[in-house]
Symmetry: C2
Subunit: 444 residues, 2 copies
């Protein structure tokens, strides 16, 4: 499968395009991507823009794809010819990756001829949804376990290869320290980290022999998994193996515990290691961890130095999707909105203005039209012009530092894992309310 194919789209984008094509509907359209509601999150972190820009810049329909579409019988030859020369030439405004945002705030706006803006809907949502979902989940891990080493172990149960690789990226943006996913290291320069699996221990006839084998082959990476048979016995073996290894100049860096009562096991193991003179050996734990389990381990001050976080982060398991949308807000110079029951949208070219407290924490946001002359900080910036990237892509390290700075501006009540009540205030400004009334009057 080709993740960057133009056919990573819903069929209706193409059937609508055929109709737009037939009827000459290629005036400029404006679409917003936003999250409608966030029932289990106090804030979200924008992520995925970089992949959206790369997708839009490279977008074209390949000959075999044209052939496939022809075979469906739904499209005219003239339309397929147009499609074979298709390129995205529109503009994109967006919040930089790492920006905090809230319900109803557009984080990306596409301005392009209607057929262009339509075709890209599905993949834009797909990319922004995934990384924003995971970055926002990962940020909660950092809030629960500040100062601890957090490593992404989630590839295996992420929903496919792309989900695993992009979850590693989103998690790193949101403050994780490393990932086990090797391709994420290659593609994005994220530090990679890994220990050993139970199979490694089991493949040896003796646990201590397994520790020795691994340490001599990975002297810079000696994190030993000690719970395959009996965690305390495993820790005792580490102590005895450490002596032999020290004579060979190899130092054990850490141990990992992946089962049982992690707090209790960590206390026992810490005791064994300390009594064995291994005060510098770190304790890492893993296994069904999420922000609530991290917080519980932190609350009892378990002697744990790092956490491997997998499935529950990479699937955002408590909230595996966001109620997000990509909606038309203007076409051919006229503001537009849908009025569907419970799903009405805000019309026009919008901007989000942010206001801060004197100490720099977030105070409130105002959602308005971009022509509004508000003193707040505007959050949407021009990112693409005429189908081309407008500014140099920030380094992922810069994005990560920016996200950390953003997190530092979160008011305390939004840093809690439970839902804050009232939520962060996002006010609808008068000019936007007025435009919505105007659109409704026109449609009435």
């Amino acid at each position: 499968m080709r993740p960057d194919s133009a056919l990573i789209t819903d069929l209706y984008q193409l059937t609508m395009m055929q109709a737009y094509f037939d009827h000459g509907m290629d005036d400029m359209a404006v679409f917003d991507f936003f999250v409608r509601d966030m029932p289990r999150r106090n804030f979200l972190i924008a992520a995925g823009l970089e992949q959206v820009i790369a997708f839009l810049e490279g977008l074209k329909v390949e000959p075999d794809e044209i052939d496939y579409l022809r075979g469906t019988g739904l499209f005219s030859d003239r339309f397929l010819e147009y499609l074979s020369g298709f390129r995205f030439r529109g503009e994109v405004h967006a919040m930089p990756e790492g920006t905090l945002f809230f319900s109803n705030e557009p984080i990306l706006r596409v301005t392009a001829p209607l057929p262009q803006a339509q075709l890209v809907e599905s993949r834009i949502i797909n990319l922004l949804h995934l990384q924003t979902l995971i970055a926002s989940k990962a940020a909660r891990m950092g809030l629960a376990a500040p100062g601890k080493q957090l490593v992404d172990f989630g590839l295996r149960r992420a929903h496919g290869a792309e989900a695993g690789v992009l979850a590693a990226r989103a998690g790193y943006i949101a403050g994780l320290d490393a990932t086990a996913t090797v391709q994420a290291g290659q593609l994005f320069g994220i530090p990679v980290s890994g220990t050993m699996a139970h199979s490694f221990i089991e493949a040896h006839d003796d646990e201590a022999a397994a520790f020795r084998t691994f340490a001599t082959s990975q002297p810079e990476n000696t994190i030993l998994l000690i719970d395959t048979y009996d965690t305390q016995a495993g820790a005792e073996k580490v102590v005895s193996v450490a002596r032999d290894l020290a004579e060979r100049g190899i130092q054990i860096k850490g141990v990992r515990i992946d089962s049982g009562d992690l707090a209790q096991a960590a206390v026992q193991v810490r005791g064994i290691l300390d009594r064995g003179g291994l005060q510098d050996v770190k304790i890492l734990v893993s296994g069904s961890l999420d922000e609530h389990r991290l917080k519980a381990l932190m609350d009892v001050a378990a002697p744990i130095d790092g956490y491997g976080i997998g499935t529950r982060m990479d699937t955002s398991s408590d909230d595996p999707y966001m109620d997000c949308a990509y909606k038309l807000s203007e076409y051919a110079g006229l503001a537009r909105r849908k009025q569907s029951e419970g799903k009405a949208t805000w019309p026009g070219r919008k901007q989000v203005f942010r206001y801060y407290e004197a100490d720099g924490t977030l105070a409130r946001d105002s959602l308005s039209l971009e022509t509004d002359d508000q003193p707040g900080q505007p959050l949407l910036y021009p990112m693409m012009h005429a189908g081309t990237r407008r500014m140099v892509a920030p380094d992922l390290e810069q994005v990560r530092r920016y996200a950390q700075a953003e997190m530092g501006r979160l008011p305390d009540r939004l840093r809690a894992l439970d839902k804050a009540d009232p939520p962060y205030p996002v006010q609808i400004a008068d000019p936007l309310e007025a435009l919505a009334r105007e659109v409704d009057a026109r449609l009435a």
Copy 2:
């Protein structure tokens, strides 16, 4: 990103491989993939094998990947040279895609030299987890709404492109009728289906004009979205537009409702359409649907012909991951198991034997060693030999029909959406129990 790259793996697979390489540990290893527990499902449907086989057949490490690995400083030149010539040459036994299975039953077994079997762990889990998760979720949709047209709309909120495309495949195996995801149509021959978006309606100054534009461009595909402004008014416009279109030989096939109280709206719309002489126009609905909402709509006999099912299926939102694992069960001729607290595994080369009632429904399964001479139907078949596919891949239509036949053998109590108590019986046979005791005695 490259979904079929060998670097879609966890770092520890490679660091363990370096240690295996250094110490000549390349004896034959046996690993099982299985699901430990299924707290919210009465049955699972095996899916994803085809992608696993393609991955294993094509697996190699590219020069740029070797360069990246060299840069980490964790690997020796000799090992990297070995890795650059790496191929998977092992054997795979598996349940055919579409097979029903239950907790603790291996659905795939890899038999290969230890380093080969180790490297592929992460991606095998990643592929089998995703499609099995989604097929098992999708099957519940079919149980909730038998006989209805079910279409996958989930790409946009699936976790990445691969998740969207493979969810379409898994859903189709489990009985859905079509997908909106175009690349899934191209790659797998799944019927594609689509209607129109709200943006299409909004881009026109008049809803009836939008209906006309679409119908003349898509005369074979005239499913009109009627809830953009007011659903009943939308239905009335369909009636009036239908008369004009009929004169031009175009017949409206259906309408879609995407918001509000779907049961109530469907009743109102059905009345409007019928009174307008459009008894043949079908009603499709969409919007946050899952098996429970489908069942509720079926229970009130809402006049709905088809359902667009999206996010909640493609993310398996009530249960977004399975507790699955890929565990060593034999190495160098000796059976192995881990004994970690709460995560112990079954050793040896296993087989699942299935027993049926007289009427063909499933009675019980027995998990045993493959050498056991049981009369039940064995479920694991040889699928790859020496790294090569052993049998012609079944056509996806065949897989789908097989899955439907399997579903037809489900006992009634497993067809309920709620968890059956007691669950389906999977008995551990005596030879397997005996081997586990033997392994424990050896390790004690």
